[in-house]
Structures are given as structure tokens and as C-alpha cells.
Symmetry: C2
Subunit: 310 residues, 2 copies
């Protein structure tokens, strides 16, 4: 079998505080990009909402959020240096940011950029977690359902420098539908960025489970769809609010082949064999041969839990 490889780098990003300047943040991302190139990377995964603090933890007006934390276009002068450096280094990347789009609504968005610095694909987060009301008794908010609208398109796969790439964002990773829709389009690599608070504000969930759930869903999803996954955290303590790290590269075997060991800016790398998933696609997960959509109808017929079919 011919060798098809992708040098995958995941750029974990530590805390970005409210007071941090865009220039300071951009310098950190560019440093990670340069380190990625020096290791042999073809592609770098940055986190969700990379360019600012994870602002959905704060209650504010929509107008204030949009003025402070949203990008009005992409690229724009405040991120151009990252695009320029990526093009110079000939490295593609995935980047998450808050997208202002007056016609369709504000979105939690990610993009795929090729080695020429061109935006090839855009994804708007489908599975927005949290709430839209002000929870006065919570230690912090999780207002993604307030500041963002649900993505107006499904999960897609794009050819980026000859690799079939999909993308999703944070909470999307917990939903097997996310991965299957991309698997059915022949994804070979999926980029994912996330901001995951270590404390669950909805019930007293043991903190260690947050990392456990992150890892088991990625491992199972990589295996079940025979895809490589690069998952980048924004993590550490942002203005007193802790988020998990655990950035990983997961193989189509479901094995973690690289994992960040800090909660700071950290670059992990793996030289990924894109053919590793092929025997899975040919045999155990030969979808055409083994899937039975006639028995899966409930997945699209129902949204919530309903009566038993028995």
C-alpha cells in the first residue's frame, strides 16, 4: 500500500485572560505554528474560540459580547499575521473563533485553511451546550445558547491539500451522529477544538470524569469511523476558571498516539499514516456491506426520548 502521511500537530493553548491583548495571543499562536513546522507538521489544529477568553462563562449583553469577542470577518487585520505565517511556512490549519454574521446570526465557528493560506471550509457549531438564561446561583455561566445560534448546516468533509478533512467543535464530540455524518463522507482526518470547564455547573459531577468522557468519546469515534482525530484544548485557569487540557491525537485504531502533558501552550505531533484506517473501512466498518439504515430511522424521526417500540 502506498504511503500517504499527514504530519499532524495539535496546538494546545493555555489560558487567554480577559485582559490579554490580541497581539499577545497571536504571538503565542504563531510561536506554536513555528514549532509545529519544525517538527514536520503539514497541518495544525488550534482550539475552539482560540482568540479570546472563553467568554460564554460571563453574562453580558449580546452587543457587548459581539463588540468584544466576535470576528467581523475572517481573515481580518487582527489575525492576518497568523495566516501570513502559515502561508510562509506552508502549513495548513484549523482555527475556532466567534463569527459575527449579521445576515444569518452569530455562530461558534471553525475554519480549515490550506497550505496556501486559503480558507477551504467553514463549520458552525451544531451542538451548543449550556443555557441562555442567567444562572445567578452557578459559579459561572455557560451561555453558548445565548450568544450563538445553532449552526445552519451539517457536518461536512473538504479536500485540504489532498486529505479528506472534517471538523467539529467541543460538545459536538460527545454526539456519535457528528462523527458518523463525516464518516459517511469519507473523512480521513477530523479537527476538533474545545474549551471544557473542569467543573460541571449543572450537577456535582466528579471532576475526573470530564477528562474521562473527553477521551473515551474521541477514542470510540475515531475507531467507529476509521478516522484520525486531532483535538486541541484551550485550557488552564482563565481568570480563575479552570478548563481541562488533554489535547490528543487519536488513531483510527482508537489508540491515543500523542497527548499533552500540561495545561499550557503545548505542541504535540504525530506523523500519521492515512492508510491505517483502510482495513477498518474495508472490513469491520465496511459501511456499504454492514450498515442497516432501515433499522436506524428513529435517529432522525425523533429528537428526544419517546415511547418504546416494543
Amino acid at each position: 500500500m502506498s504511503q500517504r502521511r499527514l504530519g499532524v500537530a495539535v496546538a494546545q493553548v493555555g489560558a487567554v485572560h480577559v485582559s490579554d491583548s490580541r497581539q499577545r495571543t497571536l504571538d503565542r499562536l504563531i510561536a506554536l505554528l513555528q514549532e509545529a513546522k519544525s517538527r514536520g507538521a503539514d497541518f495544525v489544529v488550534f482550539p475552539e474560540l482560540t482568540l479570546a477568553t472563553f467568554f460564554p462563562r460571563y453574562w453580558m449583553s449580546q452587543q457587548e459580547a459581539e463588540e468584544r469577542y466576535f470576528e467581523h470577518s475572517m481573515p481580518n487585520p487582527n489575525v492576518q499575521a497568523l495566516f501570513d505565517e502559515a502561508r510562509r511556512l506552508e502549513v495548513g490549519f484549523y482555527l475556532g473563533y466567534a463569527e459575527l454574521c449579521p445576515k444569518e446570526g452569530p455562530f461558534n465557528t471553525s475554519i480549515l485553511v490550506n497550505k496556501k493560506g486559503q480558507i477551504i471550509g467553514k463549520y458552525r457549531k451544531v451542538h451548543l451546550p449550556g443555557h441562555s438564561d442567567h444562572k445567578l446561583d452557578a459559579p459561572f455561566q455557560h451561555l453558548e445558547k445565548k450568544y450563538f445560534q445553532v449552526g445552519n448546516d451539517t457536518f461536512k468533509v473538504w479536500g485540504v491539500d489532498e486529505v479528506q478533512m472534517g471538523m467539529c467543535l467541543c460538545n459536538d464530540r460527545r454526539w456519535p451522529e457528528t462523527w458518523r455524518v463525516m464518516g459517511l463522507q469519507g473523512a480521513e482526518f477530523v479537527a476538533l477544538g474545545y474549551n471544557t470547564p473542569s467543573i460541571n455547573i449543572h450537577w456535582p459531577e466528579p471532576v475526573h470524569l470530564r477528562m474521562h468522557h473527553h477521551l473515551i468519546t474521541l477514542q470510540a469515534s475515531a475507531y467507529q469511523n476509521a478516522v484520525w482525530i486531532g483535538a486541541a484544548a484551550k485550557c488552564g485557569v482563565e481568570d480563575g476558571h479552570h478548563m481541562i487540557g488533554g489535547s490528543v491525537i487519536v488513531a483510527p485504531t482508537g489508540e491515543i498516539v500523542a497527548q499533552a502533558s500540561t495545561e499550557e501552550d503545548e505542541l504535540i505531533y504525530f506523523n500519521a499514516d492515512l492508510n491505517l484506517g483502510q482495513p477498518f473501512r474495508d472490513h469491520v466498518f465496511n459501511f456499504a456491506k454492514h450498515r442497516r439504515p432501515e433499522h436506524y430511522q428513529l435517529i432522525v424521526e425523533r429528537t428526544g426520548v419517546g415511547a418504546s417500540l416494543a
Copy 2:
């Protein structure tokens, strides 16, 4: 929150050789049932195709297979003692067997039996692995696609002694659709039996991955649907053919709370809190609030991999 508990036992069954008598096998199952009761079990999970050797590894005529390995009715005189003992002990159970059904076709089947010894539900395996041709160069066969027809109904959930129970078989566990269809019917507990050869006859897959894939898919699926899972292996070396053990009980947190440590007859037990999944169903996996079926259409529109939607 009121306490609702289910004493879950998983009865792993070691090798059942071609030469073993039904009486010998039944005695082993009854001993496991009695041990389960002594630990406090309300329900016992037995494996897939529990009553005989894993015969799809052998090439033979359909007639020979049906005469040697299929049950012509359930219960029947050759298994009645298991039903009788379960009713006497007031323990429900799940059992996998080869079902002869001349009208609809032979199936790889499982049943749910309540504490009164009544069959409450029947499931016929949907995701048949393997092949139907005779692979002369393989070390053994995997002829489920020859001896069985694809199940003619979807995954369901039944009320068994006041617990909402679903069931599936072996290879079904690798497919997230299996679990989601049951999750959408409010399953609280899912029983699974399996026979998993440690050697993959289709390509030289590292043997350790067979156990890895078994565990990560169960852990992720339990979490993603907030269900308890009881998974029972038939395992060990049957007439020279090795199958993995690894029978487990998995909590809705995705944590393994009990795991078999042998490849022989072995009983594992856990006193399962049926409310443990409730905060997951109320928040992170509140399906009605967070699922977006409008973006999942591809899951039922396509069987195999197709073109990108981008």
C-alpha cells in the same frame, strides 16, 4: 432522589467445545445463575450463542448447522431447566441462541426473561459480521452472514420487572446507531452477549486491539446514552480457537465498575443505581434540548460512504 437499584450479574462462559453435551453446558449456566442469586442479582446476562460452541467458525451445510446448533423453539426441553431454576430463584436473564424460524429465516437471537421465567422480548441480530463464502486460506471462518439472516426488526426496549431494558449482540456494540436507537426509547440497562475471536481473519490486526475496541465502544456508548451495560463473553479456547474475555459492567458515567479477570466461567456483579444516568439525561444528554436531527439525515439516507457534501 428515590433509590432504584438493579442487581446486575454478568455470567461469562468459558469454552463450550463441539463435543460438550447440552446437559454439561446447562449445568454450568445453572451454577452461574445460582452464584448470581447468592450475590444479590436481580438479572443475569449470559453470552451470545450461549448453548453451543461458536459454530460460525466452521464451514458446513445449512442443514447440518440447523440440526446441530439451532433451537427449534424457546424454551424447549433442552433448556427448560435453566428457565425453571431462574423462576425458582426469581432472577431474570438475557440469553443468546441460534433461532430456527422456518417462516422468517434463521437468526442470531437473544431474549429477555423476567423473574417469573416469562420471555418478555426477543431481538434478532442486525449487524452480522463476517462473510458467507468459504475462505479456504483463513485459519478459521466467520460465517454469520451464511448461517443467519439479518434481523427483521430494529433495536427495542422492554419493561422487565420495572426496568427499561434493551439488548443487542456482539458486533452490534461497535455501531453507535445500535445504542442511540435504544437511548431514544429510554433504555436504562442494555444486555449484550458476544463471541469475539482474538484473531482477526481479515487483516493482521494486533491482538490487543480486540479487547481495546470492545472496551472503548462500550464505555463511550454507555456514556453517550446514559445507560448501564452488562456485557457477557463466551471466551477462552474452544477446540483450539481463542476468543477474548473481558466481560464487563459499565456505568452511565462510562466507567467500568466490574470486569472479569479470567477466560473461564466467571460471575461478576454490581449493585447498579438506576438513577445514576438521570443527571446526564437531564443536562448534557438532554436529547430533546440538544439533538439536531435535521443535521443527521445522512445517517439514514446513505448506507455506504459517498461524496462529500461540501
